[in-house]
Amino acid sequence: MAKPQTIDGIAAQRLPADQYAENFADAHPPLDGHEALVEADRCYFCYDAPCVTACPTSIDIPKFIRQISTGNLNGSAKTIFDQNILGGMCARVCPTETLCEQACVREAAEGKPVKIGLLQRHATDGAMRDNRQFYERAAPTGKKIAVVGGGPAGLACAHRLAMYGHDVVVLESQPKAGGLNEYGIAAYKTTDDFAQAEIDYVTAIGGIEIRHQQALGATVTLDGLCEDYDAVFLGIGLGGVNRLGLAGEDAPGIADATRYIAALRQADDLASLPVGRRVLVIGGGMTAIDIAAQTKLLGAEEVTIAYRRGREDMNASALEQQQAANKGVVIRHWVQPKTIKTDADGVSAVTLEYTENRDGRLVSTGDEITLQVDQLFRAIGQQLDDNLGDDEALASLTMEKGRIRINGTGQTSLSGVWAGGDCATGGDDLTVTAVAEGRDAAEAMHTALA
């Protein structure tokens, strides 16, 4: 009998039943109390610390680390939450190796930065485990604000608005809030249903009502929201997925990486997820890395990422690439898909053409390689959902490069409407940036409503 991993096509249960829990266990287990103290002692408490500058939410990192080292764990958590109410999730998913930890002077000194992400997790986990709430609502303002999208930007915005005494309604298109925290992040980065626990923690302040399965263009319109609410924040993310533009792209076995990851995150039983024997992922960002790593962990025998440019051009950090490689993912650089071959079962092979950078332009070298493929994932970027409705307000929003244009405080071109996170300009597709934008927009909205 063939081993489950070598069965051709797309199949579930490729691994022994007990393997899934091990494969999807916490990728970066938390520090215990002593480890945290030892690590905290490594922080130099820099003046005008570079790590703070590197943090999109400007968390006072030296201060919260010092608070860990003095045993003031609640104070430490509050220092983090003051700037980033989703500090727990960011501690798990931030690419710290390209943000705070890259800026850490100990990275310059010895190539071993202080483990800021893990320390942040240590502080926030403690406070969240004890459900220690640090903020109270100000006196009610009587203002009602709609936050469209319950992802990182929307939640950060909602929390800050609630703090100021505004009443917030979060309109969430999915059955659960959390956005990419719930449906997008790799499972092993946020275990134990952390995204939902965090939403409970954030909304415990009060004044935040989450209405599920309420989507712009489906159940609500921006016109209507502008009429019914004193202000609107759009944190709708990027619901659409870029297509390859190749013949046969709709064949069975070909899917959007984001959709598969969402299904994986919601699966009660990972063994039930069908996965290909030979998986090909097209793309070079975090989504490509996440789908590749996770299909490998689900038991795919061969997983290949095809990226049309070089290693350093990938949006996924060097560390993320290395971690995927350690899981057995093969990353091919300088190749792009040319043709998709299908048979009765769906995709059967993909021909990749080699590329090179010629005078700043990406061109084919003329060489090709054909890979046998049972499952093909698109991970070449997302765009705004094109079904957001066609009301007047929406149409009047100024767009830029396919995203909603905002100024430095999150204000869109339309009075009374703010935006932030992936759907808006100015971000860099990071959870932590979305949090910063949601928070800053809330500050601007509060000022505008005063």
Partner: protein, 434 residues
């Protein structure tokens, strides 16, 4: 190979590392383990008269830790030996017979009555012990009974008991001094006056190491109460070094042998004690922290350093730093130094800047031409060395002497090639009066 053999007031040991009178030297079992590990000598834990004392039956120690729980300071409320006198005497005799090449000194503490000292000295002499150390230092438990530090704090008592000891034994007598006094030279002078062959110091410092913030009991807590204890370990070394130096350079005690005690943890610590005039060193906390094996590197490290530095034997090191210990008023005020930051090794943590900016002389930049950059502003730098002290990178910031003839941009004055101290300074009213 450097010659590490030690001759301290006629007591010979293969190296200058002795274990101090303390728990590690309370019985034959421990002492023999220490000798097997290579320790040059021990001062047997203090003997008293029967009935023997009792210790608390709860915690005896409290600690202060640095990063990663490195023990920096230890506090104890243990008393002298709590074993019957005859058992200790028998074991001392046996151990000394088995280890003739090692130093075995017996520490003593009995009431301030001559017959008590006469009696116990005779008994110790019978063991073949190489010498005695009079424990005038213990700050807790015994001092309340008129012994230990209670004697060490009164020079007249020190002199009296030292004289009794010398008159009732042919053994060398070492007087162990307490640091819980205002000027250590007085007890040291009294010891010499009484005929003591040497002094050893420091004993532990009176201390409360910490308070439990839940029970509000000092630590170590015995049924909700704590009493002061004796502080020791790496944290006390600077205090001990100063006291050793004070005695070494005091005209009245010049040449009085000193056994250096207080936070000796490495060969380097030991070398510093020797340089400041100690004839050997005694170790306790380091052994209690890491076990007896640490003596291996103490011996090898000291030997290697002496070889490299060209010091053939201990006498070439002992006291070498004493002439360089002076009083503040004799420091050369015409010596001018400025901090220099090596930009290649600077990791830009900014600690030098904020320390100088907030608490000192505003002499280090944090930004130059819009970039994060830390550089000394000579016109503000007083050469205080705070930046060097707080910099996490070794040798990144150094103090550079401004050569004579150049201008100190802070004062605008030309640096003088001459020696000039406070006693000669025009601002000194005493100097003006002369």
């Amino acid at each position: 190979m450097a010659d590490l053999r030690n001759n301290f007031v006629g007591i010979k040991s293969p190296n200058p590392f002795w274990l101090a009178s303390a728990p590690p030297t309370d019985k034959a079992y421990n002492v023999e383990r220490a000798f097997k590990a290579g320790w040059g000598g021990v001062v047997w834990k203090t003997l008293g008269l029967d009935p023997h004392i009792v210790n608390v039956n709860g915690p005896r120690y409290g600690a202060i830790w640095g990063a990663d729980r490195r023990l920096l300071g230890l506090n104890n409320i243990e008393l002298i030996t709590d074993r019957p006198l005859d058992i200790n005497l028998r074991e001392i005799k046996e151990v000394k017979r088995k280890w003739p090449d090692r130093a075995l000194v017996t520490s003593l503490m009995v009431p301030c009555e001559e017959p008590c000292w006469q009696e116990i000295l005779k008994q110790v002499e019978d063991t073949g012990s190489d010498g005695v150390e009079l424990n005038f230092g213990c700050p807790h438990g015994m001092s309340e009974r008129g012994m230990g530090a209670a004697v060490g704090q009164v020079p007249e008592y020190i002199e009296m008991v030292a004289r009794w000891a010398k008159s009732h034994t042919r053994m060398p007598v070492i007087v162990k001094l307490t640091p819980n006094i205002t000027d250590v030279r007085y007890p040291a002078r009294a010891a010499r006056q009484g005929g003591a062959d040497a002094v050893s110091l420091i004993n532990t410092i009176s201390s409360i190491i910490s308070v439990d913030l839940d029970s509000f009991s000092p630590e170590p807590s015995i049924d909700g109460k704590g009493s002061h204890g004796g502080y020791c370990g790496p944290a006390v070394k600077p205090i001990a070094l100063n006291m050793v130096a004070e005695i070494a350079r005091d005209a009245e005690t010049a040449g009085l042998p000193i056994s250096g005690i207080g936070g000796v943890t490495t060969w380097r610590d030991a070398a510093e004690f020797l340089a400041l005039g100690a004839g050997n060193v005694q170790v306790c906390t380091a052994a209690m922290t890491y076990g007896f094996k640490i003596v291996e590197d103490m011996i090898e490290g000291l030997s290697n350093w002496m070889d490299q530095a060209g010091h053939a034997d201990l006498d070439s090191v002992i006291g070498r730093a004493v002439p360089n210990v002076t009083d503040w008023q004799y420091l050369n005020l015409n010596y001018v130094a400025k901090a220099r930051i090596d930009q290649d090794s600077c990791i830009k943590c900014g600690r030098c800047h904020i320390a100088c900016e907030d608490t000192s002389h505003q002499a280090i930049t944090n930004m130059v031409d819009g970039a994060r950059h830390f550089e000394v502003i000579d016109a503000e730098c007083v050469g205080c060395n705070l930046c060097v002290s707080v910099c996490p990178v070794e040798n990144c910031i150094t103090m550079e002497q401004v050569p004579a003839g150049e201008t100190d941009t802070r004062t605008g004055e030309t640096v003088s090639p001459d020696y000039g101290n406070w006693t000669m300074h025009p601002n000194n009213p005493m100097a003006a009066a002369e």
